[in-house]
């Protein structure tokens, strides 16, 4: 038997297995679980955005108060003597 014939024979063997009946509560269970999964994802996404927003606000507040880009006043000025 060559490859296509063997494949066809196995395919027939698989098709011959009788199809199981679909349980009647499958749809409800799927929607229940899937809905819960989706709600959790939505909550997680919102929390992440909220954390990002808080971090951005905190950075802006810190930057405007600390002004890290301003050159700090020199602390090594030579003493002004002799005039």
């Amino acid at each position: 038997m060559n490859l296509p014939e063997r494949e066809a024979a196995v395919r027939r063997m698989l098709e011959q297995v009788p199809q199981p009946p679909v349980p009647s509560d499958l749809y409800g269970e799927v929607v229940r679980r899937g809905g819960r999964m989706q709600r959790r994802r939505t909550v997680a996404r919102r929390l992440l955005w909220l954390a990002l927003f808080i971090a951005a606000v905190a950075f802006v507040v810190w930057a405007t108060t600390a002004r890290p880009w301003v050159e700090p006043p020199s602390e090594t000025t030579p003493p002004l003597t002799g005039w």
Binding site: L14, Q19, L26, G34
Partner: protein
């Protein structure tokens, strides 16, 4: 306004998903039952696998963006079965072959490749990408599984104690 739109989207999604499940659940359950090699009427593992895979498809329904939901559900089903087979190899990987199911003679990975390739008609390259295996390996596993199915080992016949009617 936003709430109304979201509600109508939910209704549309529910309707679409219901139609999808009416068409696909039977075949997918058959696939799952072939994978777990359970009998037709007692397939709790196949039902559980299918429920989780379909729930995942339902949850990501709005993000499919034109992808076939059947492909998505099948991919999820295969991934979950592979994961379970990997982690619980000892318990059902070396299942005792039950005489009424031919697929029970195969190992879980062989069943997965065989069912994807021949029952679901997934191309070799796609099955390889799905399972994270090289294409040659998928071909080899499929060939071995077919050989096992077509030429069953001639071991000792299963001895069954027949109770003679008195």
């Amino acid at each position: 306004m936003v709430r109304e739109r979201r509600a109508s989207q939910g209704v549309r999604r529910t309707r679409e998903f219901e139609a999808f499940m009416a068409g696909a659940a039977g075949r997918l359950l058959h696939t799952a039952t072939l994978l777990t090699a359970e009998p037709r009427d007692a397939n709790p593992r196949a039902r559980r696998l299918l429920t989780l895979a379909l729930a995942h498809t339902y949850a990501s329904w709005d993000r499919l963006h034109g992808e076939d939901p059947y492909d998505s559900a099948r991919r999820e089903l295969a991934a979950r079965f592979q994961h379970a087979a990997w982690h619980r190899y000892g318990s059902f990987g070396r299942q005792r072959p039950s005489p009424d199911n031919v697929l029970a003679r195969l190992r879980p990975q062989e069943r997965l490749v065989l069912v994807l390739r021949l029952y679901e008609g997934v191309a070799e390259e796609q099955a390889a990408a799905l399972l994270g295996l090289p294409t040659e390996r998928v071909r080899a596993i499929c060939a071995r599984a077919m050989a096992t199915l077509l030429h069953p080992p001639r071991g000792p016949a299963p001895t069954r104690v027949e109770v003679a009617p008195s």
